[in-house]
Symmetry: C2
Subunit: 388 residues, 2 copies
């Protein structure tokens, strides 16, 4: 275990019927006017919009709105919302949606406290020092953005899907009512599970030694995620499974399974972002394609953990270290397939001759990774493994 | 999973060489004068006192002191410290020690913001509404008090070892340097492990259904705790094991493994407090005696979890549910013995004829427990099981 600092100030309100508390929570912070940020129509179909707005009205909180946040959220929408927040003189932001909406809201938060271009933070040219307070109502679990301090935004003009994180980027309060996720389509539930597992993998396979308390913790999250994702494919309205999958997703990247570690590998996420930016593939789907391929490329650099992964998650007990590791990776790929996620680039319409272009895009931030540093040529090899 | 609210605002600074940061952290909060609260001489032997005081001086923070906090901390010391804090007009408190010092400090914190007798809070007559800010440097891991909002104090005059908890009772910052625990005597290391496991058991066996993400998490903490306790008995200066055991102890009761559950059973702690108050036994030692006895008394009320416990922690795969459950409990008792903890009341000098008196004391707060509500007669039966 390495030295670490851990502080997660977000207040989580979790469970059925909790969305109505949003007005009271915002009011406690002395807020008078919020900018609501959300995506498309789903929050109108599942009554979330009405519940939120009624709660705000009940507590005398004025609100204005910016809608149209897309999955793989874009800089232009962030900038539109920053402008609206400033023009309307709001004193807080309210995210209503999933990771895309939360990530957008975090960007707006730090952008509102900065005179320059908010993209400077994502380029790493500046560090955010403060942000406008923000709150959220989570409607899709996957990213853990509801309880962490990170944000990933796509700069469309430059084809860059990059991230920014800072202690000033924690939500003040997030309300998670898993029952609103009962109507999510099955591919979204699959993405919840895949994104959660991917977050855990990034930390589990980051090469840090002497962290078995975190290894055990991570394996628990992985096993529970897999169990409940499978249940939900058959029974999407199963509340207990929604609740547990939602909490797994939050734990997957709320900082709790990274303490004492080396920061995570993140190569797979880096490569996946290039897929998203060039092909518009959903984050979870992209991860299902990239992760098994990355694992096949790098397992020998962390063979003990890949062996343990195979044993603990898939009960693979026979064979050499290498055989177990490879079998575990195959089982993972099969598991992703069983959720009907794509597991090859070909399935999502990528052509073999496009692999160079994807590698170029990912290589903009090379080297990626921790257990094996990946440069353009490594990335290209991984993409070839992922091709079919 | 039940609905829950989760917010843990404590900042944790963890690792070797971190104690020197205490002055800077306190200064950030605008504090000018602190009351340092600590126990006996150990912090002078391991340089912790000097490091803390140097850090305070470096940051221009004045300090006064109250020492003599005992294990199983007492109300009279709390009242002495409240008086000192008020007389000296301090604006924060600084705990330097283990759970006893932290629990004392929390009592002083809420006592300083209350005109009446602080014991009112422990009697449940009043709820704390605020407290003086406090910080801590942890020197003994076990209770998780460094990252939770609870406190247990003994009212010596009335033989009551009772608890109080409130969201206003979180430390602002806790510094945890596991290397200062290298010189702890082996029975203290054993108590760290036993207290940690006991906290996990209180939540694991509380009868809540549909919480397998937390069950997995709990089992991970238990396994890691057992592993590192055993290593430290042979190799007390093993830093990595100290660090992992310390973090297990924090996770054991920082709220993270209680979310969505029903609040925990707590009967074993309730009974143990009576042992402490009447016999002065260390908390961990008392728990090693009580827990296996409690388990033998109640396992049939939560047989599936006791079976799972036996399978997952002790790899017991043969036999009926009941056989496995009972074997698991025996293995637990053996594990505690292997740490040289007492596992019977007779070993700590309790006489059979005293059992009634212990039961009377514990029955003051009856009924205890969740999976089985325990009244005086039940408590007496458990004590008989624990006798030899």
């Amino acid at each position: 275990m390495k030295n670490f600092v851990y502080q997660n100030p977000t207040k989580i309100i979790f469970g059925q019927g909790t969305i109505q508390q949003i007005g009271k929570e915002i009011k406690k912070h002395g807020i008078q006017k919020v900018l609501m940020i959300y995506g498309g129509g789903s929050i109108f179909k599942n009554d979330v919009y009405d519940e939120v707005v009624n709660s705000l009205k009940e507590h005398g909180i004025e609100y204005v709105e910016v809608s149209g946040v897309q999955p793989n959220p874009v800089l232009s929408k962030v900038q539109e919302a920053i402008q609206k927040a400033k023009e309307e003189n709001v004193d807080a932001l309210l995210a209503i949606g999933g990771g895309s909406v939360y990530d957008t809201t975090k960007a707006v938060s730090i952008g509102c406290h900065y005179d320059g271009n908010v993209w400077d933070f994502y380029e790493g040219k500046e560090k955010p020092k403060s942000g406008m307070p923000f709150f959220g109502v989570l409607t899709i679990s996957a990213t853990a953005s509801e309880m962490n301090a990170g944000s990933v935004i796509t700069n469309e003009a430059e084809n860059k899907k990059w991230s920014c994180g800072s202690p000033v980027m924690y939500p003040k309060v997030s309300i998670i009512d898993p029952s609103v996720q009962a109507t999510l389509p099955p591919n979204q539930t699959a993405n919840t599970a895949i994104d959660t597992m991917a977050h855990v993998f990034e930390l589990y396979f980051d090469g840090t030694e002497d962290v078995d308390v975190l290894v055990e913790y991570s394996e628990g999250i992985i096993r529970s995620t897999m169990k409940h994702a499978k249940i939900l494919l058959e029974d999407p309205t199963n509340y207990q499974s929604r609740a547990q999958l939602a909490w797994c997703a939050t734990l997957g990247l709320n900082g709790s399974n990274g303490v004492g570690r080396s920061g995570g590998d993140w190569a797979s996420h880096g490569i996946e972002h290039s897929l998203s930016v060039l092909y518009g593939v959903a984050h979870g789907a992209g991860l299902a394609i990239v992760f098994p391929a990355w694992m096949k490329y790098v397992y020998s650099y962390n063979i003990d953990m890949f062996e343990r992964f195979a044993e603990q998650i898939f009960n693979i007990t026979e064979g050499t270290k290498e055989e177990k590791a490879l079998k575990g990776i195959e089982e993972l790929k099969s598991f992703f397939s069983s959720l009907n996620a794509p597991v090859t680039l070909k399935e999502i319409g990528v052509k073999y001759e496009d692999l160079d272009r994807i590698a170029d895009n990912a290589a903009m931030q090379a080297p990626h990774g921790a257990i094996k540093k990946l440069y353009r040529e490594d990335i290209l090899e991984i993409l070839k493994i992922a091709y079919e």
